[in-house]
Symmetry: D2
Subunit: 431 residues, 4 copies
Amino acid sequence: MLAIPLTQENALTQGPTAASCLPGVGQIDRLLAVRALSVELCAGLEPEDLVAQSMPDASPLKWHLAHTTWFFETFVLRPHLPGYEVFHPGFAELFNSYYVGAGPRYLRAARGLLTRPPLRTVLRYREHVEEALRRLFEPSGVRDPALLDLVELGLHHEQQHQELMLTDLLHLFSLHPLQPAWRQLPALPRRGLRPLAWVEHPGGPDTLGYQGEGFHFDHEAPRHTVWLQAHALADRAVCNAEFSEFVRDGGYRNPLLWLSDGWAAVQREQWRAPMYWSEDGQSQFTLGGECDIDPAAPACHLSYFEADAFARWAGCRLPTEAEWEARARGQAIEGNLLDSGLFRPAPVADGLQCFGDVWEWCASAFLAYPGFKPASGAVGEYNGKFMSGQMVLRGGSCATPRAHLRPSYRNFFYPHQRWQFMGLRLAKDLE
Amino acid sequence: MLAIPLTQENALTQGPTAASCLPGVGQIDRLLAVRALSVELCAGLEPEDLVAQSMPDASPLKWHLAHTTWFFETFVLRPHLPGYEVFHPGFAELFNSYYVGAGPRYLRAARGLLTRPPLRTVLRYREHVEEALRRLFEPSGVRDPALLDLVELGLHHEQQHQELMLTDLLHLFSLHPLQPAWRQLPALPRRGLRPLAWVEHPGGPDTLGYQGEGFHFDHEAPRHTVWLQAHALADRAVCNAEFSEFVRDGGYRNPLLWLSDGWAAVQREQWRAPMYWSEDGQSQFTLGGECDIDPAAPACHLSYFEADAFARWAGCRLPTEAEWEARARGQAIEGNLLDSGLFRPAPVADGLQCFGDVWEWCASAFLAYPGFKPASGAVGEYNGKFMSGQMVLRGGSCATPRAHLRPSYRNFFYPHQRWQFMGLRLAKDLE
Amino acid sequence: MLAIPLTQENALTQGPTAASCLPGVGQIDRLLAVRALSVELCAGLEPEDLVAQSMPDASPLKWHLAHTTWFFETFVLRPHLPGYEVFHPGFAELFNSYYVGAGPRYLRAARGLLTRPPLRTVLRYREHVEEALRRLFEPSGVRDPALLDLVELGLHHEQQHQELMLTDLLHLFSLHPLQPAWRQLPALPRRGLRPLAWVEHPGGPDTLGYQGEGFHFDHEAPRHTVWLQAHALADRAVCNAEFSEFVRDGGYRNPLLWLSDGWAAVQREQWRAPMYWSEDGQSQFTLGGECDIDPAAPACHLSYFEADAFARWAGCRLPTEAEWEARARGQAIEGNLLDSGLFRPAPVADGLQCFGDVWEWCASAFLAYPGFKPASGAVGEYNGKFMSGQMVLRGGSCATPRAHLRPSYRNFFYPHQRWQFMGLRLAKDLE
Amino acid sequence: MLAIPLTQENALTQGPTAASCLPGVGQIDRLLAVRALSVELCAGLEPEDLVAQSMPDASPLKWHLAHTTWFFETFVLRPHLPGYEVFHPGFAELFNSYYVGAGPRYLRAARGLLTRPPLRTVLRYREHVEEALRRLFEPSGVRDPALLDLVELGLHHEQQHQELMLTDLLHLFSLHPLQPAWRQLPALPRRGLRPLAWVEHPGGPDTLGYQGEGFHFDHEAPRHTVWLQAHALADRAVCNAEFSEFVRDGGYRNPLLWLSDGWAAVQREQWRAPMYWSEDGQSQFTLGGECDIDPAAPACHLSYFEADAFARWAGCRLPTEAEWEARARGQAIEGNLLDSGLFRPAPVADGLQCFGDVWEWCASAFLAYPGFKPASGAVGEYNGKFMSGQMVLRGGSCATPRAHLRPSYRNFFYPHQRWQFMGLRLAKDLE
């Protein structure tokens, strides 16, 4: 029997229900369903599994559970629910990630030392806050649009952390000599690797950024005009069979293929293959333990440096985020996302694949769009302060909740990072 | 109600019982009582508390529980109990500390990532091994003196780790912003600080090292002649009231009082007082949480550098280990040891105090005695390979089981370390 | 008497002379004049001054003298001058900076250990190579355009290193307790700080990148269409009086003004003011030694993080490189450049100032223009491999040779670096 | 023609001359001869060679020249020569090594950045101070014994630095890809490796420490009684043929032979052979450049860890310093010392060899003798503050001036250091 969370499908796909007669109550139902998934992701794990931190970039799962709760307590309940009683005065410092405006923060790299509060207390903390969130919406709902926006931000914040919970756990378990599995995973569909096709764009003026009424992060806006050059994008991501060729061809030993900082990383970290690959290139470590590499699934756990080197080796380049978004705009959010329950990249299907499997590195630095305005208040620190040194990724992965994604969604990481479900799509110039 | 382990007194004090009619059976009873204390020390803690590693020098408590068990499995059961079935083949690597001769070892600094096996499995591992140890002694006891020696070594090894469990936990909790307490501790006896008295020695030939039939570590032998110079030793350790004067007098700001490496440590680590002292010098963090500093209790959590600087400031010096042992030889093992259940230094009593409260730094490097022979086999790595860079400490602390101690006992740490219960006793030359 | 190089004006300003009747001979004359300046910049220094390396980012001056010579030997003479005899076979490794395609390289961070060859040998190396370059152009000139391009690249490469020689020396001397001066510098013109004015741009399609027949680096091309948003740029750089206000207002103590990586740098490096400022904010270390800060001169030695934080504090932003270039295109290359002989930022003059004083940080990452093609051969490593993690700077500085600059010129450094003559210009969106 | 300094023999061997009719004037003559050797050691080097610092443990030769001069200026001239004019007020900080009592000190690890003062100024500094020292002794000599002691200390201090100049230069040149030689060295005498013989000692009371009226460092005293166990010492050092066997036998790959800290160093530093050995074990880098390893010369450039591992491999141990001194006491100071002009270990001669070739690591930590009193005043920092973490070496090396050595001489270094001329002598217990 698989341990795939049963309620997950509902949690992630349902919009506001027609039955919600009070303003915002559909939102609170959706929110609580999303939050339930965070706990479900921990099912079957030991309390000890949730406390360890495998590297400064990652966080313990218990910390994720508490931090996402702190977010609602700090930004929604304390300012907006009269009479709200803080669960524990010390948690403000323990579970603030990086919001300087929200007070002092515990040292990020030492989160693995937070053995207290224990898991059961964190679960009570979650219940305490969820109960208060319910009270906030009763008896008459919430009409304040700014408050509804904050709740929605908290919901999406929780979804971001759900993806991080899976990638952080994968990293932790990958370092364990006994190679534990999170869960037994369902088999992947069997498909051969189909040839890559190119989708062309003639160039010219286009737009970039979110347009509409729905939720989006501040850094996806404002929508603005850009000018694209004529180019073509691959209709799918680069797959393991292709990346294996790069490895066999000595790609990791040829400095001329690499960015200067990338080559330094190859040598410093002794990279010889994508993260989690076995030495013989036949298997890889996954949330289901060690398993065979599927040649037809997108290559995963690649840094920007590796993505860029592969593209150069292939005589191509990475797409810009404007090119990527131009292609994805208007496409349905379909693909191997968290909701598929596969929890790893799967052999690619036919047709243009825009979403899922792996986040795709873009040849665009994470910078402000023209006219960018950070969200107001302390949540304005959410994205804007990370606008240096990081690159944009697009498209979502097998660990991204489907309801969390948009064509305009900008993810961002440092070019050396590769513990997320990250890969690449090829692009090329048209003359 | 205090949570002091009830069986502890028995576990630590009883020798072989008269009722043990089979050879070695008294030993196995004693051993199991000692091992029970290791588990009792964890009572009241969360599973999460036992998995975190606060620094490379320290280990998770769960790791201590498993490693002391691995010791018996590896050195006693596998070679000596026919048909013994290893509990888990992967544990050999996970819980080997530093015995190169016993196979590969998991990276010391990453022990905090060993979330698996969970605590309950480690407890089953302990039972599995204890059951096998019982079988080893049944039905007719054990007569092989080498095997009895190994069992005795394992017992003392376990006791060493009991002390480390307390000091490692103290360090972990000291870093937690909420400053959790291990347990509520009993009140200290109330005593004023009595003046220090000097005990003189005229110098001349003396001996150093263990003599007798009982258990001792290899590095306590062989007993050999040394020549002492005329000197005097203080009859007790330096106490908090005295060390506070050093702090107030600018001791931590005057480089002329410090060894060169010590001053480098002061600046690098920003030392301003003993470890765990509050900034105002009024309170300190203990296993019972934050509490007032008792002026009449020995100053504790001092590095060799601080001990040496204090002695220089006081116009004295630290004793050599030969001087220390000459004074302690023949004294009863009495004092504030683990068995007192105070778990922190207590105000000093009257009369010559040789044992307990704090390990006392000696002006002697940890080196081989003339004619030193390491124990044979893989356990020969126990002590001999640490004979560089470390200094000797003598006398046991409030976390040392009484039955573990001897006047000839040599403890050793690096001069910058201070997370153990460490302090100093003054010495001076006589003309 | 000042020691300003007399021939400098000529070296940097003259184009191909009419008297050069053979193809390329004007180029070789110009080249040798440029190279003479490299040596002149060392006049008055001790041989010892030229050997030390103050940090891994900087290089010894002697190394610069040799490396720029190695560039001609490796890329021009060895492949193109029949019978050319290499000056010393070991120099290939010693003085290769980062050209993997050109063979092994000596460790960058240890260039300060290259006491051999001594200065006088490096000067002979320079003469040997210059003599060979002359032979290459005699008796009939050079007609091969690819070869002429390589020579031109070498000339511009030498000019880049001339700027680095000055900034690296400044850094070295700034660490010396005796604060030596490179030379006595001429007085700055006296001017009060004029108010800043804004130059508006309505937005719409524009172009970016070099257009023309002259020399330019590969990464300045191809010229391509971009779409600008409506915006305004300041008509001059931010000056010391303005930056001092930021300092006094606690700019360096307010994390909300900083990018996340920037605030980490502030804390790690203990930044409290621009590099080289005295603690009281009254004076700064320059190539002429310690001297008063001129309120009307551009603020200098700022990291991207500081530039960005200042702009946020001022309610503005940094310009993009497309905005910057749109404004500068067509402007004469005039300003306080190396040719002025001031060797430090000077009080700003009236009118739109585009060039000189300080390189201006742009809110643009250093990435490939659409359709970018690296130069062919080993010199293709010149720029392309640095396209990650760095930001673009525009406009040249008081250490940039005038003949080296273009409106399309893209300089690039990491956001934490500040030992170059770096500052900022404000920009803002227009509604 | 060799470049061996001609005056060296005189400088190092002559005692006070009969012609010196004024008190102390023989001392000043001897001092100036010693100081001349410091400058002669630099003959043939480039000014650049004297400024670089190859690692924090080493210092530039120019710094040594200046620091030894600063020592006389600070401790002899300023307090004792009325009207003495300091050469340059800034030099006090630049050239103080570690004397906290003598004022602030320039950062040790950055001495390679002190390009100023240039060599010629340092040479004038030396002349200025020597001229003043001459004045101090004229016209009537010096009778104050404390002052004569300080001058003598300065002389021996200078000799210590002469050895360091050679070892620091060797280290610097060893890192240079072109492997420069300091000088062409004279050929070594040709001798086969004679068998090692053992010299026995029956054990019992003995004494340790300097006795007599002559100069000695504070830490060589007081002479005191020790008790030796019965033992035997080898009559010569371990030689290259023997150490090669250890290497071939996998000594560097067997952790059971090593101290724990030693094995960590082997892995961290990738040690595979003594320092400066070529990969094939056939040649080594010396002050005369790369040359063949002589099998009959003492193995050199070994850390304590390597010496200890070799001794364990050979079934022996290292001698204690008391054992070493008991054997050497009363022996003439003869052997391959600096005065031999060979500047590297030479094939060992017949008979008991106590001095020269290599410093011999002892199994004794560098600690205070009982009753140790540091010298009074700031020079009390000379030795006492290094009494932690270091091990004693005895016997002098091929870079030690003969007049500098005594049987009671205690040298000391950290156990991982190996850039000095260091080796080992075997010892063993007698039953």
